[in-house]
């Protein structure tokens, strides 16, 4: 799910850093220091969850959870994922230093779209299963958007990478399904146990009874 060093062309790398700078500036606006711990928790979790491997036949796939970051932190998911990506690059060259920008746009962009989809749930009164369905959709959207951005970035590196880009897209399908189920289950679990963790809750107006 990460792209490694040495593949992408310089304009794509530069665009990645530029895009990251813009998205970071927009999503981190008016962020008080009381929000720092919450965002840091999510990026540490994003980092750790990446190690949870789920077996599929002979291979295994790891969770990415950028959609989950979106439904928990809202737009602050972007800085959280950016930090996760930066630390992964520094701690063991997961991806790499020059591709930090592209990886941030790819995974963080997925998280922002996931948040957008998550917010759409207010338009559909589906009752009990609402959180599960929209959690699943948000989880799937996170992976889908990241997969498409990744394939685009790879195919921009040159014609010789087009076959690789195709394989990247195909490889994302099982990840997408697994992520959708896990995020959906997680969202409905959180709704039952600690709903105020989820982003974008509508606060119920307290009626004054005089």
């Amino acid at each position: 799910m990460h792209i490694a060093d040495g593949i992408l062309s310089v304009p794509v790398l530069a665009a990645g850093f530029g895009g990251t700078a813009i998205l970071a500036a927009v999503t981190m606006r008016k962020m008080g220091h009381e929000e720092i711990p919450k965002v840091s928790v999510m990026s540490a979790l994003f980092f750790v969850v990446n190690f949870i491997h789920i077996p599929i036949g002979p291979a295994s796939i790891h969770l990415i959870m950028n959609g989950l970051a979106g439904i928990i932190l809202g737009k602050r998911a972007f800085p959280a994922i950016m930090l996760g990506v930066i630390l992964q690059a520094f701690l063991f060259g997961f991806g790499g230093v020059t591709v930090i920008g592209v990886n941030c746009v790819m995974l963080g962009g997925g998280a922002l779209i996931a948040y957008f989809i998550w917010q759409l749930r207010h338009l559909f009164p589906l009752g009990d299963r609402l959180e599960m369905i929209f959690g699943a959709l948000a989880g799937a959207a996170g992976i889908l958007v990241s997969g498409v951005i990744l394939a685009l970035a790879v195919s921009l590196a040159g014609e010789e990478f087009w076959a690789t880009a195709d394989m990247v897209l195909v490889a994302h399908i099982p990840a997408l399904i697994i992520e959708a189920i896990v995020v959906g289950a997680c969202a409905s679990f959180l709704k039952k146990t600690k709903p105020d963790l989820l982003a974008g809750q509508v606060r119920k107006r307290i009626l004054k009874t005089s």
């Binding site: 040495g6 008080g32 540490a44 928990i72 963790l197």
Partner: protein, 262 residues
């Protein structure tokens, strides 16, 4: 699994004694140039430079091997995909698939560059304590909020890894086995949810403790940096080597393995 990148920062060497600010800048320049290289011989030279640097730091091999392992896992597919999907002339066929040497050379180039970059990153962040590297980043005008969040996240990662291990042990002792089915996935969802709740509650406690001790969004540190002549000599050496590598790559002595932008 041990992830502390600064485990070997206490070892004495000239890289460890290097002023972190200047170290980050000059080796960062090396990394940037290494990512741009187009010819295999020059990429190999940059890899050799990176190996020499990591050798000077005296960081044990098993630590470096861990980061190399990840790069190999990530890049191994390219050796399988690129030679067989390179457009144009195929040298020969392997079980019906066209094998192109250009694609193979491209895979080697990517692999060599990535290896050089990872080794250089290990040399930068493996040779100073992580908090000192971060303070150095702050002195290099990295945004304060970012640096604070990186420090928090770095602390939490190790706490959460322990938490995950505890929860896994609890699940296993209750007979849970990971399988490719719906039940496993739903359990994983609840697992992540529980991990989230526990972590947030823990963080809230820590944060209230910090507030009550006067935290106002700043971390104060007694670390001071003082760049000396020696630090600049080392930086000059790295920058000169890097420029030499860049120039050799640009003056078409070697046949480029990839179409570049300069």
């Amino acid at each position: 699994m041990s992830l502390e990148i600064d485990r070997f920062s206490h070892i004495e060497s000239s890289i460890q004694r290097w002023d972190p600010r200047i170290k980050i800048l000059s080796l960062g320049f090396f990394i940037f140039v290494a990512a741009l290289l187009k010819t295999i011989p020059v990429a190999v030279i940059s890899l050799l430079i990176a190996i020499i640097i990591i050798k000077i730091t005296n960081i044990p091999f098993h630590f470096v091997a861990n980061s190399i392992k990840w790069i190999i896992i990530f890049l191994a597919p390219f050796f399988l995909i690129l030679p067989f999907s390179y457009p144009g002339g195929a040298a020969f066929h392997v079980i019906g698939l066209p094998f192109a040497w250009e694609g193979f050379r491209l895979a080697i180039l990517i692999f060599t560059k990535a290896l050089a970059i990872v080794l250089a990153t290990d040399a930068i962040f493996g040779s100073s304590r992580f908090d000192i590297s971060m303070i150095a980043m702050q002195r290099l005008k990295c945004p304060r909020v970012m640096v604070q969040m990186v420090l928090f996240t770095y602390r939490y990662i190790f706490v959460f890894i322990d938490e995950v291990k505890r929860m896994e042990k609890a699940m296993r002792s209750k007979g849970f086995v990971m399988k490719a089915n719906m039940n496993t996935l739903r359990t994983m969802g609840n697992f992540v949810g529980t991990l989230l709740i526990r972590s947030f509650e823990r963080t809230e406690r820590v944060y209230s403790a910090m507030l009550s001790k006067g935290y106002q969004g700043d971390l104060h540190s007694l670390v001071t940096f003082e760049a000396q002549g020696k630090d600049f000599v080392k930086a000059g050496l790295i920058v000169l080597l890097t420029l030499a590598v860049l120039v050799t790559d640009m003056i078409k002595i070697f046949h480029p393995a990839i179409q570049g932008w300069y």
